[in-house]
């Protein structure tokens, strides 16, 4: 009886998530010809991953994901904390919450598809686009704006677009966290003469550890799955000259045949990369959850 109720969900979830994932991990230890699995190959796919030319792509993509993660931690989660704190201060002493309007506005880009956000910013940042026009008009820049075509700046632009996209998330999670902190704690700090900056760092921040943990873990997972924005804004090769390549765009090229001049697939290499990414994500997530769990302050 109970089994019959669970069965439909389990069947769909098992067939389209658990089974392909298990097969992908298993398949990374075999040699492949096209989409056919051949012989057991031990760790040879993994060693190939670290040999040129793959090693250059791998380290580049991994490095970009790491920069992306720290960029998001500062520009999205750090700035988001500041916004949440400002909203919290505005509402202090007032009965009703005026923060709702700003929260809704800031969160709106987060419900849009990253494809739409990427396409919109690609048009705005293009040479001849409105950002170039505005910067030239303000005298901050001269001539054609090529930030997306320049390998020094392209990755930073994508990180900024991603932060614009998701800024509302830290604002919502931090304001929810701040509201759970008892008002008496802030009153006591105020009586001790703490300013609002001091209160944020010394009082609120330690009590926000669960929220910080949630956001850090979510940002870690999202960053290491980054694909859509890169694909739409810079193409699947992570242009210019692989400077915005990520682990998932590299995985996509290996798996679906857009890597190298001739564009052939290398399923063995793709699955090895997938397994590696799976390990990075699961171990990273577990470590972060434990790290923040230990630092949660109990009152």
């Amino acid at each position: 009886m109970a089994v019959l109720f669970v069965l439909p969900a389990l069947a769909i979830y098992g067939l389209f998530v658990l089974y392909p994932l298990a097969m992908s991990l298993w398949g990374s230890f075999f040699t492949w010809k096209g989409l056919r699995m051949l012989d057991f190959a031990g760790l040879s796919n993994f060693t190939r991953l670290f040999v040129f030319p793959s090693s250059a792509r791998l380290t580049g993509a991994l490095w970009h994901n790491v920069i992306w993660f720290f960029g998001i931690m500062v520009f999205q989660n750090g700035v988001g904390l500041l916004f949440a704190w400002l909203l919290f201060l505005r509402d202090q002493g007032k009965g009703r919450s005026g923060a709702a309007f700003f929260q809704s506005l800031f969160f709106f880009p987060a419900v849009l598809s990253p494809v739409i956000v990427g396409a919109l910013w690609r048009l705005l940042l293009a040479p001849g686009g409105v950002v170039e026009w505005a910067l030239n008009g303000l005298g901050l820049h001269q001539g054609s704006l090529t930030v997306l075509g320049n390998s020094q700046t392209a990755l930073l632009m994508l990180i900024a677009v991603d932060a614009w996209n998701w800024m509302g998330l830290p604002v919502l999670i931090y304001t929810a966290g701040l509201r759970q902190i008892s008002g008496q704690i802030f009153e006591a700090a105020k009586l001790d003469g703490a300013g609002s900056g001091r209160m944020l760092v010394s009082v609120a921040l330690p009590l926000l550890m669960p929220a910080i943990g949630t956001l850090t873990t979510l940002s870690f997972i999202n960053t290491f799955n980054q694909f859509d924005i890169v694909y739409v804004m810079q193409g699947v090769q992570g242009n210019p000259s692989y400077s915005t390549d990520t682990l998932v765009t590299y995985f996509y090229r290996l798996a679906f045949g857009a890597e190298g001049a001739v564009g052939i697939t290398d399923i063995g290499l793709a699955l090895a990369l997938g397994t590696m990414l799976f390990l990075i994500l699961s171990i990273g997530t577990l470590l972060m959850l434990r790290f923040f769990d230990r630092r949660t302050v109990q009152l």
Binding site: F5, A9, F108, L112, S113, P114, W121, G128, W164, I221
Partner: protein, 279 residues
Amino acid sequence: MSALAIQRRLSRLPGSTVLVLWSAAVLLPLYILVVSCFKTTAEIYENRLGLPQSWSFDNFTNAWTRADLGQNFINSLIVTGGAVALTIVVSVLAAYPLSRYKLGWNGIMLGLFLSGIMLPIRLASVELFTLMRNLGLLDSLTGLILVYSAIRIPFAVFIFANFMRVLPSELDEAAHMDGAGETRILFQIILPMVKPAVSIVAIFTAIAVWNDFFFPLIFIFDDRYKTVPLAISVFVGQFRTDWGLVFASLAISMAPILIMYCLLARQIREGVGAGGGMK
């Protein structure tokens, strides 16, 4: 206004300025998007920020018919509606015994479902592609509905189980004594009491499915079955010089989400603030 009140307002000024500046950073690109939809490409270059000279809908009709966004739009609606309905039905069914019966194996089963919330399913896309090909589900909206449901089931089971667990057990005990069947108890007694869970699951599943790009990219090749995000990714390259048309297609693809967001902003804010799972 007393001197104290004025002083209080002044001390808030820098903070308010920061908030207003970011509001502008969010609104300005969206404003440019909206006004550009009504301009020709030449007018977009000449008149950057102003309102269009005439409110022409040419870009919209071009996007809808010439670029065939209409078909993509219908496909996205079918896939989103189908995935939301299927996810809710099977997850409600599964969550009921797992959260309210003592079975001995509900802990393990719930754990198995929960592990799926974090699984990076994109990495399984090669094997998933082979599976879909063998099942004849490539180039198929049904295939997309099944994959999206499979991905969203863990989150849905988690939410429904959490809501159902706290309902008093007298509810179904009384119904059992009246001789009601399990299906009737679930759909007539339990389900109406977890309506907020249904709306949370529906909202976040709809957003995730409507916005997804990765799976149509690898499973859909025929133009007739492309969804909106996939079509948009093609437009951006294909109509690169026709900015008005690209802006209009972006606006069309945002419209359903914008309408839903205006109606449900409070539920979405609370759902996310409570740590509800986006993505």
